[in-house]
Symmetry: C2
Subunit: 472 residues, 2 copies
């Protein structure tokens, strides 16, 4: 290892497997893809099974996403019952549906039984009602009841995301009994970080973290070391709110309870991490004017999904244009106004979107609330005022020199101050008001803010010019 870069050595030694599949740029290696592609073309099931066998579900998911659609379907078909269905939870919805729609329901029903219930639900929830029912009807009774219970909770709730496998013991057991039970029971969940304490009616009494069990003597009773579960999650709670509980209280897992406080499942941090990513992504995409689209969507689906946002912007663009239309005579006299007016509107738009971005994010993370709203509004208005003056001076000087007209410089400077002020107010007040009316500020703020900065920018600049130069 001599002479090698220290960092690389550490990383490679610790993570050789990872390095095999992924290249330097984090994408699946082309040599690996070619090898799998060749094996698929040869229908060489043996090689495929060997290569895919020790991939983690997320690695298999990345492989599926990197393959061509025909290769992908062929791979799943060739692997047959050796295909790890949990990889389907790691790919785009469009790819997942494409794969599942190509498989007989009997095979899906078989595969779903091997999965943790949360993964099974994740795959089943996107299928149409008919297929879902047929697959469920092929499952053993208890499995069917469990999955149906989770599927009965609304989308994006804790109940939908929960795992129905968990370890629960009565309060009067000792730690020793509990450990022995876990050593004997073959039906334990794949991974767990706490066990729950329940009464005979499944009502949740408390929980014990595994490290607590390991620190405790065998003779101690469960009820003496369990902690009350302050953070039990109602099954109908929105997944985003549940994620916020996990973040706030640094939870690894939490009990999910029904309306009678009976334990029905457990929500784990890995699912919550997915929810957090998904929600952050939603906010970012919404602010950019795109909805729930995925990279694997078709051209037509993507076009269609982006039209509504462009339509809304079209209406506001005509609104801004009609403001300019009010002053067509002034522009005819002084064409320089037409040249300069997009600067006033554009700078206002940029300043407004800075304020808006901060506001939308602070609302999403609940950092902005009634206690600091007044202070933040004052701050943003102050920032708008200061930056308004800074850029008024700059733009005024450049414009005045460009067109050899000090008056024009003064007018654009004054319009800049007015528009930066309007931008600050719009950037903070519009998201706040939308949020108050329960409209997602990430979706709707941008269009309103730019409408304000365009209209105010054009009106202030052209209006001041009309008045100053006394154009009839």
């Amino acid at each position: 290892m001599e002479g090698q870069d220290r960092e690389t050595t550490g990383a490679r030694a610790a993570d050789e497997h990872h390095a095999d599949i992924y290249g330097e740029d984090g994408a699946v290696r082309s040599s690996f893809l070619a090898q799998i592609g060749a094996a698929i073309a040869d229908r060489d099931t043996l090689t495929l099974k060997r290569e895919v066998d020790d991939l983690h579900q997320s690695e298999l998911g990345d492989l599926l996403e990197a393959l061509h659609p025909e290769q992908r379907r062929a791979l799943v078909e060739l692997l047959g019952s050796d295909f790890d269905f949990s990889a389907l939870t790691e790919v785009d919805e469009a790819i997942r549906l494409d794969i599942v729609d190509n498989l007989p329901n009997a095979q899906i029903a078989q595969a779903v039984q091997e999965l943790d219930s949360d993964d099974a639900v994740y795959i089943l929830e996107d299928l149409d009602r008919e297929d879902q029912e047929e697959i469920l009807s092929r499952l053993p009774f208890t499995e069917r009841i469990r999955l149906r219970r989770a599927l009965d909770y609304p989308e994006e709730t804790a109940g939908r995301r929960m795992q129905t496998e968990f370890v629960a013991v009565p309060p009067f057991w000792t730690i020793g009994q509990t450990i022995d039970y876990m050593r004997e029971d073959k039906n334990l969940p794949d991974r767990f970080s706490q066990i729950f304490v329940i009464d005979p009616s499944f009502k949740l009494l408390g929980a014990i973290d595994l490290d607590q069990i390991l620190r405790t003597k065998r003779a101690v009773k469960v009820e003496d070391v369990m902690h009350e579960t302050r953070h039990a999650i109602p099954a109908t709670m929105d997944q985003e709110e549940a994620a916020r509980e996990f973040e706030q209280y640094d939870l690894l897992s939490a009990a999910v309870v029904d309306e009678n406080d009976r334990l029905v499942g457990v929500l784990t941090i890995d699912d919550v991490v997915d929810v957090i990513q998904q929600e952050a992504e939603e906010d970012l995409l919404r602010m950019g004017g795109v909805g729930d689209e995925e990279l694997s969507d078709t051209v037509l689906a993507t076009s269609r999904s982006r039209v509504p946002w462009l339509l809304v912007n079209l209406v506001t663009a005509f609104l801004a244009a009609s403001v300019i239309g009010l002053f067509d005579q002034t522009i005819e006299h002084i064409v320089a106004l037409a040249v300069l007016m997009p600067i006033v509107a554009g700078m206002g738009g940029n300043a407004g979107s800075q304020t808006m971005t901060v506001t939308v994010r602070a609302l999403a993370t609940r950092d902005l609330d009634i206690y600091n709203a007044a202070r933040i509004i004052r701050r943003e208005v102050g920032v708008g005022f200061i930056n308004g003056i800074v850029f008024a001076v700059l733009i005024g000087m450049v414009a005045g020199l460009w067109f050899h007209d000090a008056n024009l410089g003064g007018i654009i400077a004054a319009a800049m101050i007015i528009n930066m002020f309007a931008a600050a107010l719009a950037g903070i007040l519009i998201p706040l008001v939308l949020d108050r009316f329960k409209i997602d500020p990430a979706v709707a703020s941008a269009v309103f803010v730019t409408t304000v900065t365009d209209c105010v920018g054009f009106f202030a600049f052209l209006g001041l010019a009309t008045w100053w130069f006394s154009v009839p």
Copy 2:
């Protein structure tokens, strides 16, 4: 509980404590704030200690953020050694520094010893070098060594975020010995989900999850049940990359190793969740043209931090204006062009930012790579073309009717198709090229994309008009 809403009942029963402090809107209750405020005014230490005692660190953090700065400092002072310093990891950097700067270094040194090492580092890393050294020098030897080691790793690396407390055992121990050791040892970390297996030189051999220990008979040897730690994190790895490992492999915790593969700490999922949030937030803020600002920053600091972005936009705004300037004679003849031109530029800007948002996000999550780049570029160009035609027809008709001029309608329609096409190309190629040159596409893409759509929009529309109407 009869007659009550089912959901509310479940939530309340499960989480009574939470409901005490927070109101319906998720903000700290004003009644609770008033009560704390009154106790601070009365310097009623007893009440304060009682009220604050059973708050979770994040609840205390929220309380600190909701108080006025003077109240905040007074509360920390009144609580004295009863103040839970881990709450400082839950507040804005500006608030944390304000509180810490007001405390004597001796008190900070005392408090830091009670914290997990990752929390201690989080608080110490923002202090100036001098205070940091003085506080470290007051700590016991082992504590000092541990914190200094973490502080020596660069910012935003796994080494900075890791916890230096962990449980490690030799491979030849039995599970029984291991459990007994954990029952006896009083210096265990507060919470842990796996234990590590090391050789005498602290070289990492493997790990065992706690649930595995509980499933295994006492006589079994550690080396027979441990798994190789595929996902050990080099201490110098960027925290974002470490977070990606956690996400990909659904880890709860991971060993952090130095350049010789020696175990130096453990990274836990709760810190990773913070990193994920932080990185998603950074991307969102950068795309909105704001840097690392916090809600608690002052007006001047905020103004200053937003100026660079506005300056860059100013330059591009003048560039777009100079494109308009090329056609001032045409505008003088046909003022309608000045009225309509912002529509062409603006719609292109919106379409471009849709494509750009999707691209930037896909690059951040590594969903976009060399295997699908060509396909995604084709898709975006297709979308730009289709939506270009849709909006060309719409805008062409409205503009033609507005100014009673079919030629004008035709010209704006043609310009729209050109600009939507340019928007799609710019929206995908600019982030891809920036990413290739290791420039963060979230920061720089927006300004380049709007420059393209403004310039192309104005040039296409005014240029076509000049040519068609043969303005000299």
